[in-house]
Amino acid sequence: MAKKLSTEEILAAARKESGKGEAKSGKPADESPAEETGQASEEQPVRKDSVPARPAAAGKPKSTADILAAARAQAKGGSEESESRPAAKPASKAGGGAKSTADILAAARAQAGGGGGEVKSAALKKATAAGDKPAAPAGDKPSVQEMLKAVREGKPVPKSGEAKKTMPPRPERPAPKKSAKKEERRNVLLALVTTPFAFAWTCFSTASLAATLGVARFMFPNVLVEPPSKFKVGPPSDYPFGGVATKWKAQFGVWLVHAEYEGQNLIYALSSVCTHLGCTPNWLESEQKFKCPCHGSGFFITGVHFEGPAPRPLERVGIRLAEDGMLEVDKSKKFQQELGQWVDPASKVVIS
């Protein structure tokens, strides 16, 4: 319905302003098709409302003349109710709208008459191409809108050479012009197409970021329930020679050992983690060895492995004699014998 009316309008406007328009026709005509070709494909799916009317125009190979004819034919069939509505709107827009329509028509006429053979054939092809694809026409309406807008805003004109060739399909545009209401609705539609996605993605990114930050927050708990890595274990005199103190194992996971290693009388702290698969061995006083319950690895009092599958000695942790005469264990430091780290003075306290 609306369509027919709009065509009529176009014709009216064209008749009225044909003289005016012809002078300006050159520029707008050039730029509009360029826009149109770009937009046609993008906006096709959206404008379903305007599609039905299209085929009549689209089906016709010769662009301007055909469209005009079709429009005239359609105008006769147009209903009254629809007539009244569009009539008002165009009027308000008259300044820009009329001009541009006139321009388009003028351009079309110019092409039909003065255009070279090649141009015509190109136009023909275009038109037929548009006719082949039923959906194509639908896309044209919006593009006109855009074109008009672009003209009004005085956007720079895109490529001229190509634009000329692509001109013929323009005739289909008249339809979109129909009403300003449509235009508004289209703006809303446009917004619906673009903004929700943008909105959704923004929401999604924000939520993801918040979740990531929330997880990262767990790395910095308010309260640390694990024991400190540095702690005092009493004076050296608490650890008689040849003994393994297991009293720190349950809380801190270390044994305090006072024994001889490589000719030195030492106190050192062994980590109670088996070097095979990480179980916790037990100190067996009667056998004088650490024995792992999982796979049977055994370690001497020095921490050196001698039985079972453990491939390397138990690890020492840092120990030092603090200024107040107490032994201080530092679990954040590890000393591995197979890497030659047991010579490090921080791994032992020498008792003279």
Binding site: L277, C279, N282, E307
Partner: protein, 461 residues
Amino acid sequence: MHSHPDLTSSVIQGLGAFYLVLFLMNAIYTYFSFKKGGHSKFLERLTGQEIPAAAMWALYSAFLLMIAVAHLTSTSSPNAFLFKLPEWVKYYVDVIVADPVSFSVLSVVLFALMILLREWWVKPVVAWILLNVSVIALGLSMTDWDFRQIVGKPDNVPIVAMLFIVGFFTWLYFRRAIENDKRIDEGRDVFEKEDNEKILVWPDLVYTELMCMVILTVILVAWGILLHAPLEEPGSAVKTPNPSKAPWYFLGLQEMLVYYDPWLAGVVFPSVILVGLMAIPYIDFNKGGNGYYSFKERWFAISTFLFGFLPLWVAMIILGTFLRGPNWNMFGPFEYWDVHKLEVLYNVNLSEYFWLYSPEWTPWVGAMPVAPPDASLPQQARIIFLREAPGFIAVIVYLAVLPPLMAMTLFRTYFLRMGFLRFMVFSNLLLMMLALPIKMVLRWAFNLKYIIAIPEWFINV
């Protein structure tokens, strides 16, 4: 050592029920034996008379009934109860089973006997007698406190059931395979071809499946109600239960971890096992036994698979479940789990064996190369490779030189039929499977810890 009573009234009552079930089983067997008729050749030779086999079974069942009644009605002191395992039997079983060497020799010997004596033990009578012997042995062993502690643990009940189920299905396979082997020898059709009557999926198969589902669900529910799953103490990062055991089906892997480095036994070998099992259809060129049971036509494939499954997987589960105790020491089934049991072990790496240096006795061997503490990585690498050269050579020879040798000698026909690539995959899978028992023997016989030991880089083989 411990003051727990071997026998209590409740144990005796329970065993009474146990023998009652065995009696019922044998009573049913007697009935079928009677229906079938036949004489026992063994008894005929013994007595010179024809005695029906069913009479024998009736006698045996009656004996079991009396035993059951004796258990169920026993009111005197449990200590005076006589029907229990003699101490000397316990002692010898412990001595044999608690030693890894004799345990694995025993499992391999049993495996070999299973293959060699297959035509004897698949007879229903023999199988039934074997089942009776094993059940009575289990019942008698239950009179021992330590045995009850291990076998009667709710955790371990499914493993006992599994052993009987594995036994049954192995028997079933051999029974059908041997029947087909006989048929093939006689030039007859195999059983599956002769008995090719087809039945419908619906309702026959689906109905059977439904019944299995229902029965198994009932068993699971009853089991869940009757035997309470044991909960251990709350977990702690600094306390590991002693002994600490993997789920029963992974005990073979845990046993492997005793002999191999974690990344090898925990990652590489399990993957090789899975991939290797998947590869079997692709490396198998033998069309024999396709769609029917047969041992003779596939003796190598069947024996290899069963070797991997029975001595190397099921036997390891038995070992891990029943014989590994505190500190991962080995204990006999009737032995008290003493945390302080002393096992003298001192494991040595191959490189330490190789670089045995003493200026007087072995001057031709240098001292073991040791990287200086400030060595750069290439320097360190050079020294490590030199130190572990014997191990590297051994491993390369094992995995790269042995396959061609096998292709030229023992597996000549296999190589010709398989082609190069398939044979290489096959031989390497076979060698990797055999690597486990080989390493175990090396550990027990020579206290060998690792063939290649690079603790610096956490790589050991």
